[in-house]
Symmetry: C2
Subunit: 392 residues, 2 copies
């Protein structure tokens, strides 16, 4: 019984769109190893990306072919609608083999079997989990093939969301709201950071009254005190102290779709400087969202932020957001459009962005974020959570 | 202020040992991108492996050099003892750049600056996060360099644990015990899978009375019912049903050190067949641990398991365990020694293994595991948790 979470027709549209992009680049086949792209094209879902795996799309076949470890073939049967013949598992002696045997040797055999070993094959050269060794082994095994770098080909198909995808992202947003509230309720002077992490994680998986939550692609991050300028440190046993700013960044997840949310709280009574900074960040973020609509470019959205903070004599030229949705660890971002100077991606309806601007000074930082959908005429934030500097 | 969790002397020993292995292979430099190896050599810790980063070890310098994204340089300052000059951040326009700019262009510049651009440079060709593109960019930027595949060089240094590492693994084992109990206490007929996941995660981060827990490198897995033969599916909204076997695999984590633990429970009254299977798995696993001691090979340990199950006319030739400890998503395994036929690694004191044998039949599976340390004369399980088939 398939646990696939979309209709067949939705997968079909995704595959068709992928094949169009393959045709534009005259590709005979595409080897997809980004787990999010594998899921997008087939529904495949499982914590198996720690071994080599992938999905092959060829121009002359209707369905993709899944390749992975033997013990994960049942997972492919459970989560995809692929025919048995399109599930091609490799034996366990390929896994971390002490002899000269690599899963890509098997993948090369499948590509041969599919009749594309002398064709033009797209590889996601810069995707997570597609290692340098994977590449050199495929080259060695398929000397007649012509390889092309197709790193973001499927990611660019993913950028516009369907109604069903948006539903899952909205479900994730409900979870994000609950988890943010749980974190804010827990943080106070003397409470160790891990207790806040526990409260947030618990809410992320508990989900809502109607449904549970998946594991997010990034763990909850909550840099505090001196470390608000150190965005990717994870929690420790250190207790929060009076005078600590704490930035909470988290995301609910539903069927691998995310809706990230960030807020800043302050342990104790925040100095005026921090209050004012929070006001500027909120005004700038809202200006950015006001600027978003179909037809404008990603860099235009960022510019609205930059123009706003310039009024307060603050200058900062950073990426303030990115396209996102479906994801696996280590990231929920799609790596396509960014809200930053120089990005000329034209916004279209049903693209989704996480905008996360922040301002950092010597000893503190303030950050807030929203995940929004581009509507026919503007931007719709997916979460409904107060935009302000919180205090404990 | 450094959050480094080991003495300087411990890092020094690790670097010295790494340099010895480099010398054996006549390497001038090593570029380490596996986050666990980066942490092992420098203490660097952060959820930043979703962008390109690494640590460079050269034969003629005492300290490694950290290379990463600008916003993570503060994380390097906070978690390592590296000199400011040895923290080399690249600017943010390298991140997911729409133009032809890649973080490895910057890394190549650092390697040049360190005087090794025409030397022999080791690359972890098959490590997580070292992409095909990373390799082709380094080659293009450093045409005079000679590249060697050093995928597991540091991992093999990691295989023998220090007393401090073992302390952290024992702390992780205490967390694993608590989390396993929380999972077993939650699972019963009608409870959705995500509620058990929530109880487990909550216990994993709550840790113990004395300390909290880190995020584990693999999320708690609990295949149930028909899916006990599908080990890497994650939880859903599905309620547990009477007659479901449920396999729980989890690990506490402390300062990135793990101590995984697996048990099987049964919803309702287990059939005799499952009880008997559990007895066989336990007897076989204990035979394997009894066989472990310095001087024996990894495959000998596996053979003790296989000989035991053969008494019951069960045949199975699989990997039943692997060396592990320090880790980041997606894996806590070290990818070095495996307990499987053909692996001739000779066990030494203070190596640590996760042995996770299981038996699967058409409609159910039973799995149990222990993490053990090789002592001077045997094997010491790190967790203290009853070995039996649990019931709800």
């Amino acid at each position: 019984m398939s646990r696939a979470v979309f209709d067949s027709s939705e997968y079909q549209r995704r595959i068709d769109r992928t094949k169009e992009k393959m045709a534009e680049r005259e590709l005979d086949a595409l080897f997809v190893s980004d787990p999010a792209n594998m899921n997008y094209l087939t529904g495949y879902d499982g914590w198996s990306f720690y071994v080599h795996q992938g999905v092959i799309v060829t121009q002359d076949r209707d369905e993709p072919v899944w390749v992975g470890r033997e013990m994960d073939a049942n997972g492919a049967r459970a989560t995809t609608r692929l025919d048995e013949a399109d599930i091609r598992p490799y034996s366990d002696d390929h896994v971390q083999s002490p002899v000269d045997l690599h899963p890509m040797d098997f993948v090369a055999g499948v590509l041969e079997d599919l009749g594309v070993s002398d064709g033009r094959i797209g590889l996601e050269m810069d995707a997570y989990y597609f290692t340098a060794k994977s590449y050199t082994r495929l080259r060695k095994n398929l000397p007649e093939a012509e390889f092309e770098d197709t790193t973001l080909l499927v990611n660019w198909v993913r950028i516009k969301k369907s109604e069903q995808e948006l539903d899952y992202m909205r479900q994730a947003a409900r979870i994000s709201e609950n988890a943010m509230q749980a974190g804010l309720d827990t943080i106070e002077e003397g409470v160790p950071e891990y207790e806040a992490a526990e409260a947030i994680y618990s809410a992320l998986i508990d989900g809502t009254e109607e449904y549970g939550g998946d594991y997010p692609s990034i763990v909850p991050l909550m840099p505090s005190g001196d470390h608000t300028g150190t965005p990717h440190l994870t929690w420790t046993d250190r207790p929060f102290r009076d005078g600590d700013p704490v930035i909470i960044e988290l995301s609910g997840c539903r069927h691998r779709y995310h809706s990230p949310l960030a807020r800043t709280t302050f342990v104790g009574d925040p100095p005026e400087e921090i209050r004012e900074t929070a006001e500027i960040v909120i005004e700038g973020m809202e200006a950015a969202m006001d600027a978003a609509e179909p037809g404008v470019t990603a860099e235009t959205v960022e510019k609205a932020w930059r123009d706003t903070i310039a009024k307060y004599d603050v200058e900062k030229e950073d990426r303030i957001g990115y396209s996102m949705g479906l994801g696996y660890p280590p990231d929920w971002g799609e790596h396509t459009a960014s809200l930053r100077p120089g990005d000329e991606t034209v916004l279209e309806e049903n693209m989704t962005f996480h905008t996360i601007p922040g301002l950092w000074f010597d000893d503190f930082g303030v950050e807030l974020s929203e995940t929004f959908r581009v509507t026919s005429s503007g931007a719709e934030p997916l979460a409904d959570f107060p935009r302000k500097l919180f205090t404990t």
